[in-house]
């Protein structure tokens, strides 16, 4: 057993750290995604990495020339989190892109992959429906064959950033009579197709991250179907299990705790720094310890992958523990700022008067927004069911 990185790993770390420092969009450092001002804020870092050839280290050739080991990819993720680079939008690069290069035809790959990588084509995910949340397979959006097209009707919801999207990948029912998972197809749809309407869903923190996407007799070429008809669930399952690296968010949480401690050193309680308050010290210590345990669970997963053994059973807890820790951090930030947690700041009104210290701004809103992490991506209840069934055999 050895928990130290090799000298080569450390040299790699130094190299990527220097690149990040020189090239990251510094104006976005530590800025919450809900406060980005325009599309370019979302895409700036992706464009830089694409030019460098470092955008998709997990993709196969010919799209990716890097031969980074799982450890190196891990270090890369750590360094990006430490530097607070923007998160790369996952919908193209981590979701539909891998589905297309795995299940798509050469034509489909040629048509869509370049735009996914360059960021010129913005993708969103048409999965959930009002009646199909945890039970995604019960989805009702239909795709009825009409010559060389499908006619798509239905409603998708919780579609993240659809308001900016150029294309959407959609799970739709192509066979109403088959068993739920066996009648679904995976379709790529141009958001400019007539019949598509995007309606904003405002979340309780006041932000506009998600949307409803309505399909009213939308004509989608059969050529836009990935993989065989009625085999879309295979693509969906592949997408869900693929590229889960970083799901624990350990490095990002470490950075968030570091910011929390900086803040607590500025917050005064009865003349002393809140960071020195014994009660708060204990709460931070517990949180850091919880995160350390998760960090090593992730490293075990990594080591297992490095040895070619697949991620291992312990990887299933990464989403649950990772999101619970993320949420706990937002609780402590809120507790740390006292009364100045209470002013509401509109995420999109950048010049508005914000009372109190800058570090207090949006503390409750961020706490409220992050309640989503235990709900999305497979709720933590569903994740526990999966572990019970698939890992513990119950």
């Amino acid at each position: 057993m050895d928990i130290n990185f090799t000298p080569q790993d450390e040299a790699f770390r130094a190299e990527v750290r220097a690149f990040i420092e020189e090239n990251q969009p510094h104006h976005l450092k530590g800025v919450r995604r809900g406060e980005y001002r325009n599309k370019e804020d979302f895409l700036a870092w992706q464009r830089t990495l694409y030019k460098k050839g470092w955008l998709v280290p997990s993709w196969p050739a010919p799209y990716n020339q890097l031969k980074w080991t799982p450890t190196q990819k891990y270090i890369w993720g750590e360094e990006c989190a430490r530097a607070e680079t923007p998160m790369i939008l996952p919908f193209g690069v981590s979701m539909v892109g891998p589905v297309i290069y795995t299940f798509g035809t050469e034509e489909q790959k040629a048509k869509h992959i370049p735009g996914i990588l360059s960021g010129d084509v913005w993708w969103c995910q048409g999965y959930s429906e009002p009646g199909a949340g945890s039970d995604l397979a019960s989805l009702k959006t239909t795709a009825v064959r009409d010559g060389d097209d499908y006619i798509v009707n239905g409603q998708k919801t919780w579609t993240t950033l659809a308001q900016f999207a150029d294309w959407i990948f959609v799970l739709a029912r192509t066979d109403k009579n088959a068993k739920a998972q066996e009648g679904i197809s995976f379709l790529l749809v141009d958001m400019k197709t007539p019949g598509i309407t995007v309606k904003p869903i405002i979340t309780m923190d006041g932000g506009h991250e998600v949307n409803e996407v309505w399909f009213d007799n939308v004509r989608v070429p059969v050529a836009n179907r990935i993989h065989e008809e009625n085999k879309g669930w295979t693509c969906a399952k592949f997408l869900l299990s693929h590229e889960r690296a970083g799901i624990a968010g350990v490095a990002r949480s470490k950075r968030a705790i570091s910011r929390l401690k900086d803040m607590l050193a500025m917050e005064i309680i009865d003349g002393d720094k809140l960071i020195d308050d014994p009660d708060f010290e204990k709460k931070i210590a517990e949180l850091e310890i919880d995160l350390t345990a998760l960090e090593y669970t992730e490293l075990r997963t990594l080591a297992s992958e490095q040895a070619g053994k697949g991620p291992g059973l312990e990887s299933s807890i990464l989403k649950i523990k990772g999101t619970e820790i993320q949420q706990r951090i937002t609780e402590l930030v809120m507790e740390g700022v006292g009364y100045y947690a209470l002013p509401y700041s509109d995420p999109l009104a950048h010049n508005e008067f914000a009372p109190g210290p800058a570090y207090a701004e949006g503390a409750v809103q961020n706490y409220a927004n992050m309640r989503k992490t235990s709900i999305y991506g497979g709720s933590n209840e569903i994740q526990r069911n999966i572990i019970a069934k698939m890992v513990l055999g119950l």
Binding site: I202, Y339, L342, P355
Partner: protein, 376 residues
């Protein structure tokens, strides 16, 4: 041992409930919260007509002459309705301060005015550096002739945008955190040197940052004894905590009821999600947290007139209980509602935010655990 309500109290509850149902449905509340004004003055006027502002003001001074239990009943129903208008700041806090420490002249002049909804007060006590310490004051009141000159900055003054009068705590003597030297003043919001910057709060209401720059007030602006105001402030803070405890149970009940209803009707995997044992147990835990909070709201309300240490312990116990329960119930309601619980459109998020806000007012769980423990 009697926890029953009198017929009068039941009538009071029913009338407030009906009022909320008619005038304060959730969609209306949302609209009002987002409007420029942020409140409805005419609703506040109806509070006055119904006697709700003067509920605990003696009849001699224009009130209903009710008790803390009547206050508790109104608070709970207002919690159910997510009421924005500054009833707490006036019926409980301003009235409480005047009752405890006001001169007869001040009581005569101001209590009836509060009960009639004519003078609307906000309580400017917290400061940027003070966190939850009511005695941590750098706002000063320097003697000037017969009166005083106030200088300072009050933080997150709830309801100040709706108010025309302020009750202000300032230091007339002593060190920054000394118990001695705290004085309570009444100040017109429009007085020369008073400036406010209004903003919305996370629960959909409004607050201001209030600054005092050489604000002159007369000797008659002092409420109670100069330099001896802290005991009154602490008393009334505890009275406010009792009202908040009850308000929070109103909000908790709405969340619990809507969550159970949702779980019974929302179907996934061919069955209502309320059939899943994990969620059932979660809703049971929500229920237990609610009932414990109701119990503690009763306890603190009934202990408000005990001697200081016992009253403070009761208030701190209540604040801890509702802080923890409010967080658990709020988070659980959102979680069980799934994506819907995250929306601005559904009421769940709004109750979640109000419970979160209540946790911070007059000291959070950490603060009150410390205070409770220090009282032995």
């Amino acid at each position: 041992m009697d926890f029953s309500f009198t017929e009068e109290q039941t009538l009071l509850r029913n009338s407030v409930q009906k009022f909320i149902q008619n005038a304060y449905d959730f969609e209306t509340r949302r609209k009002v919260s987002k409007s420029d004004a942020g409140w409805r003055k005419e609703i506040y006027g109806q509070f006055a007509e119904m006697g709700l502002l003067g509920v605990a003001i003696p009849e001699d001074f224009g009130g209903l002459g009710g008790s803390a239990v009547d206050t508790m009943i109104i608070a709970e129903e207002f919690g159910r309705g997510l009421v924005i208008e500054p009833w707490l700041q006036n019926a409980v806090i301003a009235a409480g301060i005047l009752k405890a420490a006001g001169s007869t002249a001040q009581k005569e002049e101001l209590l009836a005015s509060i009960a009639a909804g004519e003078s609307i007060f906000a309580f400017a006590y917290a400061e940027p550096q003070g966190r939850y310490n009511l005695a941590d004051l750098v706002t000063t009141a320097k003697k000037s002739g017969d009166g005083y000159v106030l200088n300072g900055h009050k933080a997150v003054v709830l309801g100040a945008p709706f108010a025309d009068k302020l009750i202000v705590t300032a230091r007339t003597s002593g060190g920054q955190r000394d118990a001695d030297g705290v004085t309570i003043f009444v100040v017109d919001k429009g007085a020369k040197g008073v400036s406010t910057r209004d903003y919305p709060t996370v629960d959909g209401s409004r607050a201001s940052e209030v600054t005092f720059e050489n604000v002159s007030v007369g000797a008659d602006a002092v409420i109670g004894e100069v330099g001896k105001g802290l005991a009154t402030v602490e008393l009334v803070a505890d009275q406010a905590i009792a009202a908040l405890a009850s308000e929070s149970t109103g909000a908790m009940k709405v969340l619990n009821d809507t969550t159970i209803e949702y779980a019974k009707t929302r179907k996934q995997f061919g069955t209502p999600i309320g059939k899943f044992q994990v969620l059932q147990h979660r809703m049971v835990d929500m229920f237990m947290n609610y009932e414990q909070s109701v119990s503690i709201a009763y306890m603190v309300t009934l202990k408000l007139e005990e001697e200081e240490a016992e009253r403070k312990k009761a208030a701190s116990a209540a604040k801890v209980q509702i802080g923890k329960a409010g967080r658990f119930i709020g988070q659980s309601a959102v979680q069980i509602h799934g994506g819907m619980g995250m929306t601005d459109e559904l009421n769940v998020g709004h109750y979640f935010k109000r419970l979160t806000m209540i946790d911070t007012l007059f000291g959070n769980v950490d603060h009150h655990l410390k205070r409770y423990a220090s009282l032995g």
